[in-house]
Amino acid sequence: MSFLTIENLNARVGTAPILRDVSLSVEAGEVRGLVGESGAGKSMIGKAVLGTLPTAVEIESGRIVLDGEDLQALKPRDRRRVIGAKAALIPQDPLTALNPSRRVGPQITNRLVDILGWTRADAGHRAAELLDEVSIPDPERVMRAYPHELSGGMRQRILIASAFAAEPKLIIADEPTTALDVTVQKQILRLIRQMQARHGTALLFVTHDLGVVSKVCQSLTVLFGGMVLEDTRVEQFFARPGHPYSAALLAATPKYTDPDASLTPVPDAVIAGVEAEIEAHDRMHGHV
C-alpha cells in the first residue's frame, strides 16, 4: 500500500509555477529517489508534504495523501498533527538542524512527548534505544552532550534516530549526506537503508547525486523545472534512461572508473527540449 501519494500537484510563487502537475507515490518499505538539479523543485515537494513550504509558495491544486489522509482537505491544525505523527524529516545539514544551545537528548524526545503524548521517562528510554540502534556508543552520555561536541557523522546519526523515533510511515531525507565526507557518507547511507528496511518505512530520498540513488533507491522520479520527466525503477533507469534529460544527467555524473565517458556537459539541445516541454505544459494549463 502506498504511504504517500501525490496527485497532480501544482504550486506557484506569484504567477510563476514551481511545481507542474507533479504525481508520484511511495509504497510501504520503498525508497524513492527524487532527483534533479537546483531549481528542479525536488526540495519543494518534500516541503509541500511536510507542510513547511515558504509562505510565498501557494498550492494551487492537487492532492497529497499521507497514509490515507488527504492533507489538503484537513484543517491546518489537524494537518499538522497528522503530518507530525506520520512523517518525519532527515535534514541536509545536521549542524543547523540541531539547536546548538540545547542538549541532544531533549531534542529527540520532544517529538515523542509533544506529538505522541509519551511520558518523559518512556521517551528517554526510546531515545537511548534508538541511539544504540544507529550505532552511537554510550547513548546516555551523548544525550547529555551539546551538538557542537559531536562530529558531523555523529550529528547525522542523531537526526536519523530522531526521524525514526515516532515510527513514522514516511521519512523524507533531503540531501542528508551532502555535507559529509565520502567515507562518512557511505556509513550514513547504509545506516539509513538498514533502518528503513528494518522499520518498513517509506522513504523519499531527495538528492542531486545519481551515484547515491543507485546505492539507496529502488525507484526514482526525475524532475526539471518542477515537472516530472521520468518515473521509473532504478534497474530500468541505469540500463536505459527514459528521457533525454535523464540520459544527459547520467552522462554528466562523475564516474572515476570511466573518466572519459562521464562528466559530459548536458547538451544545450536537451535543455531546450525540456524547456519546450514545460512551455507546452504551461500553455495547456492556461499559464502564460
Partner: protein, 268 residues
C-alpha cells in the same frame, strides 16, 4: 630539471592555536594541521589534492600561495624561497600565483560588476591595457563581453565560477590553485567548468593544483594525485596508477566510498 619545477615544498609544517583548549592565562596549545609535507609540482602539471575534511588540503593550498605562513619547512616557488616572505615582498609575486575559490557567490563582491571584479587584480598589479585584458579573460572563459556590466547575482552558479576563473587567469599567472571549485555546482555546470579548465590548461599552459574531495573529478582532470590524511601525505603519484592500484589503505577506502552511478557496484 630544477628549472622545470614550479613548486618545491619540503617538510612543511603548519599549526594553529587551539582556542577551544586555551587556558585562561597563557598561550593556547597548538593543533598541527600539516605534519611535514613534501611535494614537487612540475611546470604544466595538473595536480589533484584530495582528502577528507580536516586532512589539511585547503591549509596546504593556502600555505602554497602564502595566504598562511608555515611554522617550518620550506616552499620554493620558481626557485625562490617564499616560506617566510613579508607581504610587501610577496605582493608583486602574487600575479604569478592566483586562486579560484569554492563559493563564487561569497568570493565575488556582490556590489561590483563582473568587469571591475576581473580588473581588480590587474589594477593592483599595475597592468597596462586593463580593459583589453578583461575582455580577453572573458573570451577565454567563454562569457560574452557584455557580461562586464553584470553583477554576480544576475549570473548562474556556473557563470559565476567562470568569472572567478577569468579573474584568476587575467594576470597570466604561472600557477593557479583551485579549491573545491565545482563542489557547489550542479552536475551539468560542473562538467562545463571542468571542460573549460581542461581547455585553459592546454591553451594557456597553466600549472594547476586542484583541491577536491571528489576523486571522480580528480581522475578526470589531474595527471598526478596527492592523497592527504590528517596532515600527512598518504600517496602522491600518477593519477591513473593511483586509481588502478591504490597502495595505501586509506586511498582504497576513499575509492570504495564513492557512490558510482551504476548498479554493478554493491556496498557490502
Amino acid at each position: 630539471m630544477s628549472d622545470d619545477v614550479i613548486y618545491e615544498i619540503e617538510n612543511l609544517r603548519l599549526s594553529f592555536p587551539d582556542m577551544a583548549h586555551k587556558p585562561l592565562f597563557g598561550a593556547a596549545p597548538r593543533i598541527e594541521i600539516l605534519k611535514g609535507i613534501d611535494m614537487r609540482i612540475a611546470r604544466g602539471d595538473v595536480v589533484g589534492i584530495v582528502g577528507g575534511s580536516g586532512s589539511g588540503k585547503s591549509t596546504l593550498g593556502r600555505a602554497m600561495i602564502r595566504l598562511l605562513e608555515p611554522d617550518s619547512g620550506s616552499i620554493r616557488f620558481n626557485g625562490q624561497d617564499i616560506t617566510h616572505l613579508e607581504e610587501t615582498a610577496l605582493r608583486p609575486m602574487r600575479r604569478r600565483f592566483q586562486m579560484i575559490f569554492q563559493d563564487p557567490m561569497s568570493s565575488l563582491n556582490p556590489r561590483q560588476t563582473v568587469g571591475s571584479i576581473i580588473a581588480g587584480p590587474l589594477k593592483l598589479q599595475g597592468f597596462d591595457r586593463v580593459s583589453a585584458r578583461v575582455d580577453q579573460a572573458l573570451d577565454h572563459v567563454g562569457l560574452p563581453r557584455r557580461f562586464r556590466s553584470r553583477y554576480p547575482h544576475e549570473l548562474s552558479g556556473g557563470q559565476r565560477q567562470r568569472v572567478g576563473i577569468a579573474r584568476a587567469i587575467a594576470t597570466e599567472p604561472d600557477f593557479i590553485l583551485a579549491d573545491e571549485i565545482v563542489s557547489g555546482l550542479d552536475v551539468s555546470s560542473q562538467a562545463q567548468v571542468l571542460n573549460l579548465l581542461e581547455q585553459l590548461v592546454r591553451e594557456l599552459g597553466l600549472t594547476l593544483a586542484f583541491i577536491s574531495h571528489d576523486l571522480s573529478v580528480i581522475r578526470r582532470l589531474c595527471q598526478r594525485t596527492m592523497v592527504l590524511y590528517r596532515g600527512e601525505v598518504v600517496e602522491y603519484r600518477d593519477t591513473r596508477a593511483l586509481f588502478e592500484a591504490p597502495e595505501a589503505e586509506y586511498t582504497r577506502e576513499l575509492l570504495d566510498a564513492i557512490p558510482l552511478p551504476d548498479l554493478e557496484q554493491v556496498w557490502a
